[in-house]
């Protein structure tokens, strides 16, 4: 069996990759969605193209480009940084689209009502539109987070010692090709449960506050 501390470290590594890349995506997604919904057609089209390209290439290819490509040509990236960077860049595209869906779901009447009450542009966005959009985004963002947790296993391909990496090592050395991977699978499912739970409870709480 794998020693418990090794297993613990592997779990921590999986969580670190998932959380870091999600945060990168959540933060970079904001400017991206603003550009995506810009008043200027050219900006909108270019942003959309960028998002489509980021989402249209498999995540493992981005990780490889960062790790084997950019890293060898320009600067040296360690595997963990390359994995987080690759997944983070993809998440900002996905999350920007999720934000956009949330913004679109807020009824135009809300903006008009706020304008009629004398709110300014910024006030309308921060006080009226964003809180309602946030509620709508939450379940999709959580679902995306769970997807990202699973994609974090891709880091094993460039040697980051997270859950999938440990399971593979164990299977190769131990000769049992089933147990390590079943345990790994169960661990991923267990890790995704708090996220699913969080999304559900936050969703109900916010729904009570902002019923759409």
């Amino acid at each position: 069996m794998i020693p418990l501390d090794v297993l613990g470290n592997a779990i921590v590594m999986t969580v670190v990759i998932t959380v870091s890349s999600f945060l990168i995506g959540a933060i970079l997604g904001v400017p991206l969605v603003l550009l995506r919904t810009s008043r200027f057609g050219v900006v909108r089209v270019l942003t959309r193209a960028l998002i489509d390209v980021l989402r249209g290439v498999p995540p493992v290819v981005w990780i490889f480009i960062l790790y084997f490509g950019v890293s060898s040509d320009v600067i040296k990236l360690d595997p963990l940084t390359a994995a987080i960077g690759g997944l983070g860049v993809i998440s900002c595209a996905y999350l920007a689209e999720i934000y956009r869906g949330g913004l679109l779901s807020v009824h135009a009447g809300q903006t008009e009502a706020a304008q009629a009450l004398g709110f300014g542009q910024v006030g309308i966005f921060t006080r009226i539109v964003a809180p309602q959009a946030f509620r709508v985004c939450l379940p999709s963002a959580a679902t995306y987070g769970i997807g990202l947790l699973k994609d974090s296993s891709l880091a094993s391909t460039i040697g980051v010692a997270e859950i999938a990496f440990r399971a593979t090592a164990q299977a190769r050395s131990g000769g049992d090709g089933i147990t390590p991977f079943v345990i790994a699978g169960v661990l991923y499912i267990a890790l995704s449960m708090p996220l699913a739970y969080l999304s559900r409870t936050l969703d109900t709480k916010l729904r009570m506050k902002v019923s759409v």
Binding site: V57, V60, K150, G175, S192
Partner: protein, 219 residues
């Protein structure tokens, strides 16, 4: 710049062959996985509790486990049970299993999204349960499911990039091996990325178009 184009032209035949393997893998996995997904969607709604729970466990495992882990489980796991599959076979088993799990959820949600009134109308006409499924629920549900299923198919195609791990010569594994001999990783991986985009972008546009048209039809 000229050098880059020449390189790309050199590599293209090998990569296009690899793309062919990726597409084949995605298509075969869909052909097996979609009927599996329909079966799982129906079994999850079975009146028998044990059937329901077992199916649910299978679906949850398929959706909750990274595909990379599934792939290893099949590739390393089955031989230890005395069942040796070729790499392509292992990949198809893993990807079909994952397709079944994901599409069963899409199909289940779509069947539930068919308006109750249509089912009642069928009942009021004296159409029995099987007839209602065959003539009303299934065609209506599939129509609702199509945009999401297309979205999934695009994801599945991207996921085929993982099978380089079990040495199947698809697009990414060809790019990687060219990279490891020429050390032109950025260049060859970028070309691979472009080839992936050549499939995913038009499919994405088609999916969006279909979704819009369906929306109009259903209104």
């Amino acid at each position: 710049m000229n050098g880059l184009i020449e390189q790309w032209i050199d590599w293209l035949p090998s990569l296009v062959d690899g793309l062919g393997v990726s597409v084949q893998l995605a298509v075969v996995s869909l052909l097996i996985g979609l009927p599996l997904g329909l079966a799982e969607a129906l079994l999850v709604a079975s009146p028998n509790r044990i059937v329901r729970w077992i199916t649910l466990a299978v679906v949850e495992f398929g959706r909750g486990t990274p595909t990379l882990v599934l792939l290893y489980l099949i590739y390393y796991g089955l031989p230890s049970q005395g069942l040796v599959l070729p790499a392509f076979g292992s990949a198809v088993v893993a990807l079909s299993f994952m397709t079944g799990a994901y599409t069963s959820e899409i199909i289940r949600a779509s069947l539930q999204a068919v308006p109750r009134g249509l089912v009642e109308a069928a009942a009021a006409l004296g159409i029995n349960r099987w007839g209602t499924f065959r003539f009303i629920l299934f065609p209506e549900g599939i129509r609702i499911a199509i945009p999401a299923l297309m979205g999934f198919a695009i994801q599945l195609f991207q996921t085929t990039s993982l099978v380089f791990l079990i040495t199947l010569p698809e697009l990414l594994s060809r790019a990687y091996s060219i990279g490891s001999t020429t050390f032109q990783y950025t260049s060859v991986l970028a070309l691979a990325g472009v080839l992936y985009l050549l499939v995913t972008l038009p499919s994405g546009w088609l999916a969006a178009l279909l979704e819009k048209r369906m929306g109009r039809h259903l209104a």
